[in-house]
Amino acid sequence: MKCDDYILRVEGLKKHFVLRRSLLTKILTRERDCTVRAVDGVDLVIRRGETLGLVGESGCGKSTLGRTILKLYEPTEGKILFRGEDIAGWRGKQMDLFRRSAQIIFQNPYASLNPRKTVRDILSVPLLKRGVKDPKEREEEMVTLLEKVGLKPWHIDSYPHQFSGGQRQRIGFARALAMKPEFIVCDEPVSSLDVSVQAQILNLLSDLQQEMSLTYLFIAHDLSVVYHVSDRVAVMYLGRIVETAPTEALFEDPKHPYTRALLSAIPSVDRETRRKRQILEGVVPSSIDPPSGCPFHTRCPQAFTECRLCAPRSVEVDSGHHVACHLYV
């Protein structure tokens, strides 16, 4: 693939957290330091201008992956290529540029906004970072930003608590957009909103994408939302990507047994789209001590000997449709 086809590419990315126990705990409970393998070997390509959906159950590592990609966490292992260049050695100016081009929006708009700051204060920070020094110019740009995200110019002197959940999420966007980013990680941006407001925000995201040629990594646990917004979808399980495909291909013909079970569980108002439920037995194993071989083998209805022994490589089963499962090698 040529480097200008994708904006970001990760290879063999790992992020492990070490949980340290105090000496006392070690003596009393015999628990030792342990490692949470939150992201455990991810290869992923994000193409310019697309929305890549990232789905999986809570704790599978979606947020950690999103943050590691942005270097908000130092990767334990693996490569991150931004516009074709390895960002590992980036410092100073280069890193600043990366920090500006790649933004993140969080689920809880309230927690991510300082309650004692007005919208003006909140938006000034990124604008100053970008070097917009003239107050008048800054003011003008803030008003433009507010209008862009569907707020009114007079909102500029309000505090976060004076806004509804949906409006706070809009402020979060305005703050991210103030950096003129190319790439935004949206970490569950609509999960805490009511459906009627959620729809407004989803439309806003898609309008902004068109207008400003943005690329999104869209993290969500709501599969209907992901189906709606994504060009391609990656399915994550226990720190690894098990399947990636164009959205419609994935929903019409899921290959990985985990994807199949996951999609079968989606509740739907439309009878014709309901699938036969495949109830998964057992619980998600811990990412402290993940299973050997395929991470899904402890719950997979189709597992065979091979699955317990070695981790399946990802193979392309159809154009752009990648699966990591021994059934397809």
Binding site: E57, S196, A199, S268, V269
Partner: protein, 321 residues
């Protein structure tokens, strides 16, 4: 079995009275599953709490009646309400940890709920009780109940905690289960398991369920009837398949257009403009008026009530009066 008539529950606040539930009427037959659907703050939880007379002060029930098997809960003596609570009507909450006590073993907590409601119905031995608990744990799908019995709530996953909660609720063989968003905090695969369990309980035991959810898709798969709430009032009610296929109230219609659906081709969503109103100072006019795409001058001028449009369907909208 359950007939709520004109229930109004209010919370006085500094800014004025919050009518969390207003003129709520709803009835539920034996063995039925009724979904109570609406966005956050529309009064779903307060409705359930009102049924059990558990509304926290300074909130209070202002008017209405709640008949359960022919008798009005609102005019019962407190002792009698306590007997009904748990014995005939049980409740399951969204967050299991509000019910489960972290310092007691799960099995013992289920046994405790057996005992509390067995008062006066003869003695049972500890062993018999334990047997009953184990079979309950098995019924709700808790694997290896013998060892799980002795574990603490934090040793259970979220889905397992919810199962334990359901076991506690079922311990007294209730006729009616009030479930307040029992699957909202769970992953979809676990949600599917819990909904399957509740369906099974409903069909095997004939337990009626009043199921609160903000998720129209969950309600449409799981419930027989639904009541759609907006700003403290029921705006539409009817058999679930009919309401979904042919929504009458502009709010129900709007909700269905707002949710991303799994159909092809994918279309742009049509959100309902504006925000959910705050429940202070609402009048008896339609509270959806400011957001409604079919409003007429009349909507802001005269009161609107829930009308029977036939076929078990009810709507609160001037278009149907």
């Amino acid at each position: 079995m359950l007939r709520i008539h004109n229930l109004t529950t209010e919370f006085p606040t500094r800014r004025g009275a919050v009518r969390a539930v207003e003129e709520m009427s709803l009835s539920l037959q034996r063995g039925q599953i009724m979904g109570l659907v609406g966005e956050s703050g529309c009064g779903k939880s307060v409705t359930l709490l009102s049924i059990l007379r558990l509304v926290a002060r300074p909130g209070r029930i202002i008017s209405g009646s709640i008949h359960f098997e022919g008798r009005d809960i609102l005019s019962m003596a407190p002792a009698e309400v306590r007997r009904i609570r748990g014995a005939d009507i049980a409740m399951v909450f969204q967050d299991p940890l509000t019910t489960l006590n972290p310092v007691f073993r799960v099995g013992e907590q289920i046994r405790e709920s057996l005992r509390v409601h067995r008062i006066g119905t003869g003695r049972t031995s500890r062993r018999e009780e334990r047997e009953t608990v184990l079979s309950l744990m098995k019924e709700v799908g808790i694997p290896s109940p013998e060892s799980r019995y002795w574990q603490y709530p934090h040793e259970f996953s979220g889905g397992m905690q919810q199962r334990a909660l359901i076991a506690i609720a079922l311990a007294c063989r209730p006729k009616l289960l009030l479930a307040d968003e029992p699957t909202t905090a769970l992953d979809v695969t676990i949600q599917a398991q819990i909904l399957e369990l509740l369906s099974r309980i409903n069909s095997e035991r004939g337990t009626a369920i009043l199921f609160v959810t903000h998720d129209l898709a969950v309600a449409s798969e799981f419930c027989h009837w639904i009541s759609v709430m907006y700003a403290g009032r029921i705006v539409e009610q009817g058999p679930v398949d009919e309401v979904i296929a042919d929504p009458l109230h502009p709010y129900t219609e709007g909700l269905l257009r707002s949710i991303p659906r799994l159909v092809k081709p994918r279309r742009r969503l049509s959100p309902i403009p504006g925000d959910v109103p705050d429940l202070i100072g609402l009048t008896n006019r339609c509270s959806f008026e400011s957001r409604c795409d079919r409003r007429m001058p009349e909507c802001a001028e005269r009161p609107v009530s829930l009308v029977d449009v036939g076929g078990g369907r009810h709507v609160r909208c001037i278009l149907y009066e």
